[in-house]
Symmetry: C2
Subunit: 337 residues, 2 copies
């Protein structure tokens, strides 16, 4: 196992998270320890799924939101971050089945290694264990919050799956989907961190709202990367959302900017009626200012995230959380236009 | 919604559960109420999955194990039975994907209606909500027990899925799989019922052990039905386990009884190397006493279940739980040989 791998963590994030080195090390130990709870027959497979060397944005949100003292790594925050990371990893295992993905972060997906059927059940087992770890807190609060979030994440993914290849989706639908599938887990990460960190209810609410808007911003950024990213750096081919019929904000922005007569052809590409003209669509996106329109949408969400914390400039988590918005801004600045 | 449907409940079970009419009515209301917690976009789909008109053996175990007074329907038992039933229904939704099943209990499966991808996510959402309901008890105990059981059920299903079409499976492997995939949820149903019913720790342990052995017996019976059932009554074709390469106890018993020279052909049928000769295998099973051998295995488990409760003949749940073993015996007696 090599979970420490930072080579695939975008540089700016890695810098921001340098502060969290001891926390991530404790998270590693915690995740590894969870494997001993899995039945021996599926332990190795669960290990394969859990060992993803991901960016760990959600654990970072838990740790930063509960920040009290840089020297101490609070065990409760480690446990909560393991819970949200396992929920996230389980959703990735199931996502990769839907997407027919063969590779994630340079490794074969669980569906590819163990069969899609086994991957469904492995994802289930990881979900179940995440909730089991959540139930090991003294009260039911963590389990209540995480199980509700998990249901919302799955609801968002369900809607996204059913709308795939459909152009009968509004930008409001898209925003609702990313609010559920991505922002929800960002939100609950901040909720758990600030709550376990012992902050006052008003701050817990503010941190949760911050997490939600950061999550929306992050997903819009991620959808932007799918068209404007650096293939080598993100480790996947561009335009997969268009190819798989997923209507994301860059596509909404392009549709809006194309002359009305040219829209049916793009819609037909989204519906899979004809092969997407990816090079043309990328060129049109650049020519018609799609990039800056989408960046504007990200900025608007980041502004809401920042505003949520404005009344509490002096609490220890605030500068750290605000730092994450800067990290995202820097990531966007690094994208080609 | 018509969850009261008893037409597909085997007669003897229906009789035994007549006592539970008000409890099942309360369970219906509770399950229906849960739907309001689901996100509007997936509520109708969740309803479709939850509305299965099943046999409700697990809820019956919860109610009987917690039995104090026939007149009162304890809300805690209703809630716990809704939790285990939802976990069970979620596993069915995912099972039907693995099996490529088109129909369950006379209705199209969720995978068939909404696509397998959507069914994966819907099952996830139902799992998550079951754990959310479990987290609404005053302490973490229910959530702890149910999440651990769920992980074990998924572990059992994973192993079964990976071993499908393999003859490199021992009878011990088979018993381990059914202990996890079926007996575990029976066990936790009895655990929750007796615990929430306020019985002493020794009885909670005994009831849990009873549930486990009843679960093993029930699964062996179910595997027997796949070869010796009445097609009309069970609503599916016989021999599906052989056709899908699932090595169950009747097949172990047949393999053991066949002359050594004839075993490779049957093994090849299990591995899918050649089309299963179902009529021949059924005839051989009858001729070689497979039926009675498997019934003996069921009886052995039922004896262990009964023995677990022997020290507590006077506690109210005991006669009711023992009644369930009689129901299973009557079911078996009703099978053709």
């Amino acid at each position: 196992m090599s979970r420490a791998a930072s080579h695939d963590v975008p540089h700016a994030f890695a810098d921001a998270f340098g502060l969290l080195r001891p926390h991530f090390a404790a998270l590693d130990i915690c995740l590894r320890k969870q494997l001993t709870s899995f039945e021996p027959e599926i332990r190795e497979m669960a290990d394969y799924c859990i060992d993803t060397s991901g960016k760990r944005i959600r654990p970072a949100l838990v740790f930063f939101s509960g920040w009290r003292d840089s020297a101490a790594v609070a065990p409760g925050l480690v446990q909560a971050s393991a819970v949200v990371e396992m929920v996230h990893l389980a959703t990735l295992v199931h996502d990769d089945i839907m997407d027919g993905a063969e590779v994630r972060r340079g490794r074969k997906t669980a569906a590819r290694v163990y069969s899609p059927a086994a991957a469904v059940l492995l994802g289930d087992a990881i979900f179940a264990h995440a909730l089991n770890l959540a139930a090991r807190f003294p009260t039911t609060e963590v389990c209540l919050a995480v199980s509700e979030s998990t249901r919302r994440v799955c609801a968002g993914e369900t809607v996204q799956t059913l709308r795939r290849g459909s152009t009968d989706v509004s930008e409001a639908d898209y925003r609702r989907i990313i609010d559920l599938k991505t922002a929800e887990l960002f939100r609950v990460s901040c909720f758990l961190g600030s709550r376990l960190g012992g902050f006052e209810p008003g701050y817990v609410e503010a941190a949760s709202l911050f997490g939600r808007h950061l999550g929306i911003a992050y997903q819009i950024y991620d959808d932007l990367v799918d068209f404007f990213g650096d293939e080598k750096r993100i480790g996947k081919t561009l335009g997969t959302d268009l190819l798989s019929g997923k209507l994301t904000l860059p596509l909404f922005a392009l549709l809006e900017r194309l002359p009305e007569s040219e829209r049916p052809a793009l819609k037909d590409e989204i519906r899979g009626g004809q092969k997407p003209q990816l090079a043309l669509r990328l060129r049109q996106m650049e020519e018609l200012g799609v990039f800056s329109a989408v960046v504007k949408a990200v900025d608007a969400e980041l502004a809401l995230a920042v505003a949520a914390l404005a009344p509490w400039p002096k609490l220890p988590p605030t500068p750290l959380l605000l730092g994450l918005t800067e990290v995202l801004r820097a990531q966007i600045a690094g994208l080609r236009r």
